[in-house]
């Protein structure tokens, strides 16, 4: 059905006389709410226009008015309900709501009352704009963005005057030294950044970042303790197929001394035990102890802790980026973005029969870095 078949629209086909177009094709006297035509009235665009119900029927307009008023009233009510919810509901109270499940009572009430209250202000304002404010589009000319040639000439003249008056072109040496001074003035700002880190840890005295990253707390003879209970371990405690997250025995002392968790992020290891016959390769001869292997827990990709150990495949998977390492094959990478194998910690037992590190790691643990080589 074509639009120009309809009677109400026949005056607005775009071919009619311009006098009618100036009012969007609808004469004022036909509207329940006439267009504003006082001082400041804006030119209407030449667009086919159909009046709204609220333009035609005063009753429809009054209905919209009531509807919007109700919205604003409800919004006020919501603000009151919010305060009641804030005062009356306990912060830890729970309530069961179908679909949502058991949820925080206060959070629900506060969110819905506050949200609905705010929403209704917006809905009312927009309904007002859509139904009661004029919906005949007006037209405005764009102004030229570029300056007039005369203005450009003026600007250029002023620039030339400034250049001459300052002597910026004439005093060559002065100009160049100024540019030099301006080029150097940010240097202090850059230099100031240097002390964002100062190596004031006596244990790390004189070490560069790369050197700090290359060593951990592990030393020969340091016992391995279970992460959590911090109990030392005997080899027979770990079953074949078992997995233990381990730390050096002095981890809590280090933490208390440095007030940081830094060492945890470097020295954390996992111990796994497999049938010695399953071990195809290690990073050093006899670095295992009766099939117990110790590997760093920190991924060599970007440093996530990693302990997704599959005890039948001997694969270790990183949950962050899915690098996969084969612990039965010297911790080599078999899948994913990590380029380096998991560093292995050589282990043995001390005279009391507890598992200890035989030495520190032979290579830096954790994420790769430039000086690593």
């Amino acid at each position: 059905m074509s639009s120009d078949l309809t009677p109400s629209d026949s005056a607005a086909t775009g071919d009619g006389p311009s006098a009618e177009l100036a009012h969007g094709g609808v004469r004022d006297d036909r509207l329940a709410r006439p267009e504003y035509s006082g001082p400041g009235a804006l030119p209407l665009a030449a667009i086919d226009h159909t009046p709204r119900r609220s333009d035609l029927y005063p009753k429809a307009a009054r209905r919209v008015e009531r509807q919007i008023t109700l919205m604003f009233l409800l919004s006020m009510l919501m603000a009151v309900l919010f305060v009641i919810g804030y005062v009356a509901i306990d912060v830890g109270a729970e309530i069961y709501i179908p679909v949502l499940g058991t949820v925080g009572y206060q959070n629900l009430v506060l969110g819905v009352t506050f949200g609905l209250g705010v929403f209704l202000i917006g809905a009312g304002a927009i309904q007002w704009a859509k139904k009661l404010m004029p919906d005949v589009e007006v037209v405005q000319d764009r102004h030229r963005l570029q300056s007039d040639p005369a203005e450009t000439v003026k600007a250029h003249d002023q620039y030339e005057r400034g250049k001459e008056e300052s002597g910026f072109a004439a005093y060559r040496i002065m100009r160049r030294t100024l540019i030099g001074a301006l080029a150097l003035f940010p240097i202090p700002l850059v230099v100031l950044v240097r002390d964002m880190w100062v190596n004031d840890d006596p244990a790390l005295a004189g070490m560069s970042p790369a050197e700090i990253l290359s060593e951990t707390a592990w030393t020969g003879g340091l016992r391995i303790v279970i992460d959590g209970s911090l109990a030392p371990l005997r080899p027979e405690d770990i079953p074949v197929g078992g997995l233990v997250s381990g730390l050096p025995e002095n981890i809590m002392e280090i933490q208390e001394e440095t007030h940081t968790l830094n060492e945890r992020g470097k020295s954390a290891i996992i111990l796994v035990r497999m049938d010695p016959g399953d071990i195809r390769a290690q990073q050093g001869a006899d670095w295992d102890y009766q099939g117990i292997l110790a590997y760093s827990k920190i991924c060599t990709h970007v440093g996530c802790p990693i302990a997704l150990y599959e005890h039948r495949t001997h694969h270790l998977l990183c949950p962050c980026h899915q690098s996969t390492f084969d612990l039965a094959d010297a911790g080599n990478v078999i899948f994913g973005p990590a380029a380096r194998r998991m560093p292995q910690l050589p282990i043995t037992v001390d005279e009391e029969g507890f598992l200890v590190a035989a030495s520190d790691f032979a290579e830096p643990v954790g994420a790769s870095f430039w000086e690593r080589g």
């Binding site: 925080g104 405690d237 079953p239 078992g242 802790p305 495949t313 949950p319």
Partner: protein, 251 residues
């Protein structure tokens, strides 16, 4: 091949020896189980399991040996419906179990009679009422969350394998899983994770299962991916819907 299997079996036996000795009462009960129960278990085993695991549970190409896996392992695998396997795949999924609990116990007794292994935990062992939930949370994040996710919703492993969600798991299943290391899960015996710590972990998982969601609809507690998905679907439908409503002309 046979040698490897034998070594593996010995390894498992050796590894869980400590368990068997620390819980003598239950282990003895499982070992010495009543003879008719063992016979019934053997019959069920031959019917339902022997085609993969061999006539004497010695293992075959399609299934590992069950000698020394213990009653706990049988109970975990069969009671959760993981075994018997419906179809070969990356991993045995949980399904409705087809045996009655007596039948499961009979099979467990039969397998336990072949060699010592972890016994089905006693009611006392899985009683977590006095356990410290917060400590359990710490242990859960150290030992479990890397695979089962911090909220216990499960996660992906390599090559299509996965760590299942813990939301339906019972205390007994959790205890058995830690003890026996089903499928690719590592074993947490009573030395690396003592009974009290296991109880704490169970208490924390039970807390996770029952925890309300203080902030409203929990979106499966799967983290930012689901939140992003919800944002780009429901939330943007609402926001763009509002924009369209403002844009269309009233009538």
């Amino acid at each position: 091949m046979g040698l490897v299997l034998l070594l593996l079996a010995l390894g498992v036996v050796g590894g869980v020896y400590g368990v068997a000795t620390t819980t003598p009462s239950s282990a003895d009960a499982a070992l010495v189980g009543d003879q008719t129960q063992i016979e019934e278990g053997r019959r069920l085993y031959l019917e339902g399991c022997s085609s993969c695991h061999g006539l004497n549970a010695e293992g075959a190409a399609s299934g590992p040996t069950l000698i020394g896996v213990g009653a706990a392992s049988v109970h975990f695998q069969v009671a959760t419906g993981r075994m018997p396997l419906a179809a070969p795949g990356a991993q045995a999924p949980v399904k409705k179990d087809i045996y009655s609990s007596e039948e499961v116990l009979a099979m467990a007794a039969y397998i336990a009679s072949l060699a010592p292994g972890p016994a089905i935990p006693t009611a006392e062992q899985i009683d977590y009422t006095d356990a410290d939930v917060a400590e359990g949370g710490v242990l859960f994040r150290i030992n479990c969350a890397q695979c089962h996710q911090a909220a216990g919703q499960g996660g992906a492993l390599t090559q299509g394998k996965y760590a299942p969600s813990l939301m339906e798991a019972s205390p007994q299943e959790i205890y058995e899983a830690m003890l026996t290391g089903p499928q690719n899960m590592p074993i947490f015996n009573d030395k690396t994770l003592p009974t009290e710590e296991k109880q704490a972990v169970i208490a924390y998982i039970m807390e996770l299962q029952e925890a309300p969601s203080p902030g409203g609809l929990s979106l499966g507690r799967l983290g930012p991916v689901v939140e992003g998905l919800f944002l780009w679907t429901a939330v943007f439908a609402a926001l763009i819907g509002a924009a369209v409503w403002i844009g269309i002309r009233a009538r």
